[in-house]
């Protein structure tokens, strides 16, 4: 049999490319968007790509929306209520609490470490009675849908290694990000969109890096595609100025003809793949603008997310887009919001951050819930470490600052497989050490993978002779968090 002529070349164009998920096009998509053709062969109907045998069991979540709060939000000003600190205001942090803990170069030479209680009020919310700061009224309203984890901890003490750790399970550059692992393991549920999308909002504060959505040593096709708020949402998506769609179509048709002639002559399957990639590119030129066009969203939607959601580049807009991506089956949707690094003037800074993010974060939860999508969408909110109870710089009546604190901080999770309306783990009275139920970054990763039906020890990739995984050689699923 001459497979090329028989099976591909004589199929007319319409048939050849008309059906996204069929034929050679679909197979090649699989290879780009999150898997390889071998696996696609065995995958469930709607899925393209992914590894055979994945998911390992039926997980409750099909996708993840990670609301990363970059710069490290202060846990004791938002979620981890510490009433006793009021009386300890301006007293020195006891050595028995600090326990020789290493400090960053910014405060390690400080001559005193005065305790700075939060100046914000806390209240218990919902049926679950979760403590939430007055800074987050909207998140407080959905508290019963959330699972607060007060005892996350990490080893990293500086932003770059810490955020890299959260995204890749290692502090140094080079490992694949979590979204890449999922694209590789689970493939894509939408042939026309990338399996892993990253979006950035907020300005100032700590910078971000391409590696945070990079594929590390996994093939580059698993890397996250950053949707941009200025210019093309996806780089080079638009036709150049003056190139009409009909011109582009004609060029692509002629290109396909010529490439097919080449395929006929040379028989290299790479040529067939390239043919299909051009068609996918063409389809992305339609599917991505359709995705980012929010003109059809209702008034009710904007009531949920806030008017800011109409402005591309805002956190609220990205939250709304996250829901639209989730609807379209994108596997891993990673938001980054910058600006949480309040070393000084924390009350002012954190207030602004909360105002920018509170409503849309809560709106996303409510929106997913009303659409019945919260049960199979895992949402995570959190930063790369916490902040110190002691004041960085001068403690005044109105003002304080906080340095980096890796030993405990708070995040919340919701939806797909996570127990709603609970708080997990406790810290000591100084919010400095974990009193019970520590959850390491690796544990969080293991738990998230579990929600997606993945045994974190099985999602491996052999590189430089070693089987790597997101959780390195660590990680335990925190069963108490599971629904």
């Amino acid at each position: 049999m001459d497979p090329f002529t028989e099976n591909q070349l004589h199929i007319n164009r319409r048939h050849f490319f008309g059906n996204a998920a069929t034929g050679i096009g679909g197979a090649a998509l699989a290879s780009l968007l999150g898997g390889d053709a071998m696996a696609a062969d065995k995958a469930p109907t709607k899925r393209s790509g992914g590894l055979p045998g994945f998911p390992n069991f039926t997980g409750k979540a099909k996708r993840v929306i990670y609301l990363f709060q970059s710069g490290a939000p202060s846990q004791m000003d938002l979620y981890d209520y510490k009433p006793k600190l009021k009386d300890l205001r301006a007293t020195e942090l006891p050595d028995s609490i600090r326990q020789g803990q290493r400090l960053t170069g910014m405060t390690s030479k400080q001559d005193s470490f005065p305790v700075a209680p939060t100046k914000f009020k806390f209240k218990q919310r919902g049926k679950s009675g979760a403590w939430v700061s007055e800074l987050l009224p909207h998140i407080a309203n959905v508290a019963d849908d959330l699972c607060f984890v007060k005892t996350i901890y990490t080893q990293a003490i500086n932003h770059d290694p810490a955020i890299t750790f959260f995204q890749t399970g290692a502090q140094l550059a080079g490992r694949p990000s979590m979204g890449s692992w999922l694209s590789y393991g689970l493939g894509s549920d939408n042939a026309d969109l990338p399996a892993f999308v990253a979006m950035v909002s907020g300005s100032g504060g700590q910078p971000l890096y391409d590696r945070l959505w990079g594929s590390g040593f996994l093939p580059t096709r698993y890397q996250g595609i950053k949707f941009r708020s200025v210019g093309d949402p996806v780089l080079f998506l638009s036709n150049p100025p003056g190139v009409a769609d009909e011109t582009r179509r004609r060029v692509l048709d002629d290109l396909a003809k010529l490439n097919r002639l080449k395929l006929e002559e040379y028989g290299d399957p790479e040529i067939a793949t390239r043919l299909s990639q051009y068609e996918l590119a063409y389809r992305m030129q339609t599917s991505v603008p359709e995705l980012t066009d929010i003109s059809g969203e209702t008034k009710q939607t904007f009531e949920l997310y806030g008017e800011e959601a109409k402005k591309p580049g805002t956190y609220a807009f990205n939250c709304l887009l996250a829901r639209r991506l989730a609807e379209r089956g994108v596997r891993f949707i990673q938001l980054f919001h910058r600006g949480w690094d309040q070393h000084t003037e924390l009350p002012k800074g954190i207030g602004k951050q909360c105002a920018d993010t509170d409503r849309a974060s809560a709106g996303l939860i409510a929106d997913l819930k009303q659409r019945g999508m919260l049960e199979d969408t895992l949402v995570v909110w959190g930063g790369e470490f916490g902040r110190t109870v002691y004041c960085q710089g001068k403690l005044t009546k109105e003002d304080y600052g906080r340095d980096h604190h890796p030993r405990c901080f708070s995040i919340w999770m919701a939806g797909g497989g996570i127990k709603p309306g609970m708080s997990y783990g406790t810290t000591d009275d100084y919010c400095y050490n974990i009193a019970e139920n520590p959850v390491h970054v690796h544990d969080l990763h293991a738990t998230m993978l579990h929600c997606l039906g993945i045994d974190h020890k099985k999602l491996v990739y052999k590189f430089q002779g070693r089987y790597f995984r997101l959780t390195d050689v660590h990680g335990n699923v925190v069963k108490e968090l599971l629904a």
């Binding site: 497979p3 996204a20 998920a21 679909g26 090649a28 290879s31 780009l32 390889d36 053709a37 071998m38 062969d41 709607k46 960053t104 170069g105 910014m106 390690s108 932003h159 770059d160 550059a173 080079g174 939408n190 950035v200 504060g205 910078p207 971000l208 890096y209 391409d210 590696r211 996994l218 093939p219 096709r221 210019g231 780089l235 080079f236 150049p240 100025p241 003056g242 009409a244 009909e246 011109t247 582009r248 060029v251 002629d254 290109l255 010529l258 002639l261 040379y266 028989g267 399957p269 790479e270 043919l275 990639q277 590119a281 389809r283 359709e290 710089g393 052999k462 430089q464 002779g465 089987y467």
Partner: protein, 1093 residues
């Protein structure tokens, strides 16, 4: 419109296609097994060790701490040992071997691997074990740890196919597999293939014609020689090396500031072009600084080990990152030269290969002796670095220096004339007339403080050249005063008799707000000073331009009294981002004295000097870690800054600011306020040094006869010119040894603060040892790497070259030659190449001759085969590991862009120099790191070869990333070769490619007349070959359609042909050009164009 959510069922993919797609994966799905089929004799290294390694070593391998049941299977002693009455492996007797019993046991407690193991044995593997033992269980050392030896060539049937020994090995394997080689590629394909491979650029039509016309038997030979001599060869070869060396133009963390390492990059290009032997190439990069009397080039070469990332983040714990840098050097060295994954042994003994954790730190010790700080410099190079002038700069500098020397000599000869002229002038001087004179060059502001007024002010500040955008964007916020502001604050204006006229009288509360003057930054040279007469408590701010916040947080620069000492701070954040020095000796209270600070823009404490009464002061450094801009919008203040607690008490007079780092001679002159007439009145033999020097300076500047003044002026300007030239020379970070070696400890779990036992430098025991008498330092280690008894370096190196040409290495895992790496497809060929590389038998080749070994590869018949794929070959060998056909694969990111620039004629072929910033979508840097804009270049810098594109690690150039360029965050030995829609979008829409299409259209329109000729011309430029009639038909019809379209759409026409900054050829018809641009754009997107075939 396509539906977004596809609900179509997936089609089963035909097996042949699946196999084809596997080429795309780098990973753990293996197509054709690299090893030969396992019929017949079982080979330990080929068949058994990989299974043992993958499945068993994790618990029964080299790592003592993880070893279960005290059973070791990675060495012969362990595997054949008698244990508790049973023997693990009994040669010839599978039935008596405990190993077989345990891997086949049905008892779950006995069965190995245990039920919860990550990896299991399949029945075929168990059968292999059984057969291997039955056949005598021959144990061999892991193949790559045994040095390669020259062996007799294999015999083959089809002898006529053999062009050189390479082919004997390829053909022997093909014949064993029952395959035949493909016919030779046609000459056009071949010259394109070899040109792309050796120079990274396609051949020109003229070069193709010459080759086609050359019927001589060595026509191809001549082409290869020409290409190897081309300077483009060095650029092409350097790209691979840059990936390995994790070369980039930024430091890689956080805001990812710029660094300057391009002098090393240019060294690499030059080394390849000069065909520097690989052993020398190795030694100079590893340890050029330790060679006897190292040349500048040899020191530049050591930048290899400084290309790792560097963290300048605020809260960094320096020791933590200092360790990371050294670890990076060890891992990089292991990957590049040894093909070993030593990174594992940072935390524990290796799980698969015979290397211990202690050995990791013994290697670590070689690289741990650098005077470096774990906290890197944010913008610019981190010490140690050297000035590294280019050859032409060195020539210029030599010229300047000899000019300067000559001028100095001439001027010195004028000495007696000057003395005489000065005496004459002094005699003629009316000494009653007051002449005040001091340094006014680069004076930007002076406050006489005689009244509420000011003078002499011109706020102009220099920026250090070469930095992209290190300063923040916050500008024009409130609180800034006009430049002529001058106002007493917190009290009424008060003056008292001063050093010169009157002085500001400050009481520890009131101060002067002097407005927007002296807005210097951390790259600026500047000086400031004043006369002070401190009264009462010995504290308070003298001069400052800093935030008026509390002292600890205040950002800016200042000079103040603290406990009687003079303290100077240039500060972003006290405690971790500032320079702070103070004088060892206190100043005196209740007395006038002149105080002055100078700063040379170096961001180092040693760049700050402090003078009292014109004399340089001994300084104590309290902090030396300035890393970013300290500019503020707060005004310049006299007597205040840093809040109300820090005000000056006493008198201040004659405040001066200069935008240069004044010399000590200049400060001395400023501090000496005696008038010129007064000095002249002093009899010459009674004049002090400062008096003499000031008088002479004044005389030379103002009063000497014209010829003397001219001579003096040209001397001074030449001095400045030379100093400026030297200062602006490029620098490069290099390796350097500390005098007292730093101690090295094993780090438990690899953590910087968990010291274990102290270790000494040493090489791993399972490899060869250092030569007797070799120095036990980096130089010794470098020579050890290229010692002829090293079993790895030559193999690893030739394997990378092989991969570059053939698409896949003989060992596919080019980065891992350990037991978890893939076995070589042609082990004997790999050994032959390695031996030939080190001690060549080929005439004219020298040892470690890179060009010669590449030539051997490209001259082989294997390389010269047609790359057409037949269904039979595709089924048998989808990845082309056996090479029954020539290599065909996508070009690299750099080559794809370079080719587009080259064939259009846009490329500017200039070698070396600072990196350039071609087109990039707007805002790409800014959206993830607010403070860094991308200042795109213009003109010729848009069209340089891609290897010169500025590489920002945290936001790499998108059109390079789309085509799998290495991220340059860490050493990368192998690039992926994916095929994605983002690549299609890049080629179709990215400015550089659209512009190249337009310029290629202009070129074909100018160089050819008819449609057929133009298509043909474009084809020959882009693909070397001519179009077929069918192709011509398709493109001609396409052209007609596009032309009709653009004739109807003049606006679109203009837009399409106006993309890119190169000037359009206005003589050509716009509509035709637009239509041709569509055609040439299509051509640049053809699979064949982006593919080497």
């Amino acid at each position: 419109m396509p539906r977004l959510m596809s609900d179509k069922p997936g089609l089963r993919v035909a097996p042949f296609l699946s196999a084809g797609f596997l080429i795309l994966t780098l990973g753990n799905l293996v197509g054709l097994s690299a090893a030969e089929p396992v019929a017949g004799k079982v080979d330990f290294n080929r068949d058994i060790r990989p299974i043992l390694s993958d499945v068993c070593f994790h618990c029964h391998g080299p790592d003592e701490n993880q070893r279960e049941a005290d059973l070791r299977l990675d060495n012969k002693t362990g595997a054949f040992a008698k244990r508790d009455g049973s023997t693990t492996i009994v040669p010839g007797k599978p039935g008596s071997s405990e190993l077989i019993r345990r891997i086949t046991s049905t008892d779950p407690d006995e069965r190995m691997p245990p039920a919860d193991a990550d990896r299991k044995l399949n029945p075929q593997q168990i059968e292999l074990f059984r057969r291997w033992i039955a056949q005598g269980a021959e144990w061999k050392q892991h193949w790559s740890f045994v040095a390669p030896k020259r062996q007799p060539l294999p015999t083959v049937k089809n002898k006529s196919w053999i062009a050189n020994p390479v082919d004997a090995y390829i053909l022997a394997r093909l014949e064993r597999e029952g395959l035949s080689p493909s016919p030779p590629a046609d000459k056009t394909t071949l010259i394109r293939r070899v040109s792309l491979d050796l120079t990274g650029l396609p051949p020109t039509p003229a070069e193709i014609d010459a080759f086609l016309a050359d019927d001589s038997p060595n026509a191809y030979d001549k082409v290869v020689d020409r290409l190897l001599k081309s300077p483009r060869y060095g650029e092409r070869m350097a790209v691979r090396w840059l990936d390995l060396a994790r070369y980039a133009d930024t430091s890689g963390y956080q805001n990812d500031g710029e660094r300057f390492m391009w002098r090393w990059r240019d060294w690499v290009i030059e080394a390849f072009n000069n065909n520097m032997p690989f052993d020398q190439f190795t030694v100079e990069q590893m340890a050029g600084d330790l060679l006897p009397n190292p040349t500048l080039e040899q020191r530049i070469a050591t930048a290899f080990h400084r290309n790792h990332r560097g963290n300048a983040e605020g809260g960094v714990i320096p020791e933590e990152f200092a360790v990371e840098y050294v670890v990076d050097r060890v891992e990089t060295t292991a990957t590049v030269w040894l093909g070993l994954t030593l990174g594992c042994t940072r935390c524990h003994d290796h799980k698969y290969d015979p290397f211990s954790q202690k050995e990791f730190y013994q290697l670590f010790a070689y690289f741990n002796n650098l005077p470096e700080n774990g906290r890197a410099i944010k913008d610019g190079n981190s010490p140690p670095y050297i000035q590294a002038p280019t050859r032409s700069q060195r020539k210029q500098l030599a010229k300047l220096r000899s000019q300067l020397a000559a001028t100095e000599t001439t001027f010195r000869k004028l000495g007696p004339d000057i003395d005489r002229a000065q005496v004459t002038w002094e005699k003629s001087l009316n000494t009653e007339k007051q002449i005040d004179w001091t340094v006014t060059e680069n004076l930007v502001a002076r406050f006489a403080l005689d009244a509420e007024a000011r003078a002499d002010q011109k706020p102009s500040f220099s920026k250090k050249p070469g930095f992209s955008a290190p300063t923040n964007d916050a500008k024009a916020s409130g609180g800034r005063k006009p430049a002529d502001a001058f106002e007493f604050k917190d009290g009424t204006p008060t003056f008292a008799p001063g050093k010169l006229g009157r002085a500001a009288d400050l009481d520890g509360k009131r101060y002067i707000d002097a407005g927007d003057v002296g807005k210097f930054d951390f790259f600026d040279k500047f000086s400031c000073g004043a006369w002070i007469n401190p009264q009462g408590p010995q504290g308070g701010m003298i001069l400052s331009r800093m935030m008026d916040a509390d002292l600890k947080r205040a950002k800016g620069y200042r000079m103040r009294l603290r406990n009687g000492k003079l303290e100077v701070s240039l500060s972003v954040r006290w405690l971790d981002d500032a320079i702070r020095v103070e004088t060892v000796e206190p100043v005196t209270a209740d007395r006038w004295q002149h105080v002055m600070m100078t700063y040379d823009g170096s961001r180092l404490a040693k760049g700050v000097k402090v003078y009292v009464d014109g004399k340089p002061q001994k300084l104590k450094v309290n902090l030396d870690g300035l890393n970013q801009t300290f500019q503020t919008d707060d005004p310049f203040r006299i007597g205040a800054g840093g809040g109300p607690v820090a005000r000056f008490h006493g008198l201040i007079d004659d405040v001066r600011l200069y935008n240069s780092s004044l010399s000590s001679a200049q400060v001395e002159q400023i501090a000496n306020v005696e008038s010129i007439n007064s000095i002249v009145r002093t009899s010459p033999d009674k004049r002090t040094g400062p008096q003499q020097r000031k008088l002479r300076a004044y005389f030379l500047a103002e009063q000497a006869p014209q010829p003397i003044r001219d001579a003096h002026r040209s001397l001074v300007s030449l001095r400045i010119q030379t100093a400026t030239f030297i200062e602006e020379l490029p620098t490069v970070m290099v390796m350097q040894e500390m005098e007292t070696p730093r101690e090295t400890f094993l780090l438990k779990r690899g953590e910087y603060d968990k010291h274990g036992e102290q270790v000494q430098r040493g090489t791993p025991v399972s490899l060869h040892s250092l030569r007797d008498g070799a120095p036990n330092n980096r130089l010794g280690l470098a020579r050890w790497l290229v010692d002829e008894s090293n079993p790895l370096t030559a193999r690893v190196t030739v394997n990378r070259y092989w991969e570059m040409l053939f698409g896949t290495g003989i060992v596919k895992t080019v980065e891992d030659f350990g037991s978890q790496g893939e076995a070589p497809t042609h082990p004997e060929l790999l050994d032959w190449l390695a031996v030939e590389f080190v001690s060549p038998q080929t005439k004219s080749a020298k040892p470690w001759d890179v060009k010669a070994i590449l030539k051997t590869m490209v001259m082989s018949a294997a390389y010269r085969q047609s790359s057409k794929v037949t269904p039979a070959l595709l089924e048998k060998d989808p990845e082309n590991r056996l090479l029954a056909r020539g290599p065909r694969f996508r070009l690299t990111a750099e080559t794809i862009r370079d080719q587009a620039l080259f064939v259009s004629g846009l490329m500017v072929e200039k070698r070396g120099g600072p990196s350039v910033k071609p087109y990039q979508p707007a805002g790409l840097w800014k959206e993830i790191a607010t403070s860094t804009g991308y200042p795109q270049d213009h003109g010729e810098k848009l069209y340089r070869r891609s290897m010169y594109t500025f590489w920002k690690r945290t936001v790499a150039p998108p059109s390079m990333v789309a085509f799998d360029a290495a991220a340059r965050e860490a050493c990368q030995a192998r690039r992926a070769r994916t095929n994605t829609p983002l690549q299609a979008l890049t080629l179709l829409n990215e400015t550089a490619f659209v512009e190249a299409a337009r310029v290629l259209a202009e070129r074909t329109m100018t160089e050819a007349g008819t449609t057929t000729d133009r298509v043909t011309r474009a084809y020959r430029l882009a693909m070397s070959r001519r179009p077929s009639p069918v192709e011509l038909r398709i493109l001609s019809a396409g052209y007609d359609a596009h032309l009709a379209h653009y004739q109807k759409n003049p606006d679109a026409t203009l837009k399409v042909i106006s993309i890119g900054e190169s000037k359009r050829n206005e003589k050509l018809s716009p509509t035709e050009l637009a239509a041709w641009t569509a055609i040439t754009g299509l051509i640049l997107n053809l699979d064949e164009v982006v593919t080497k075939e």
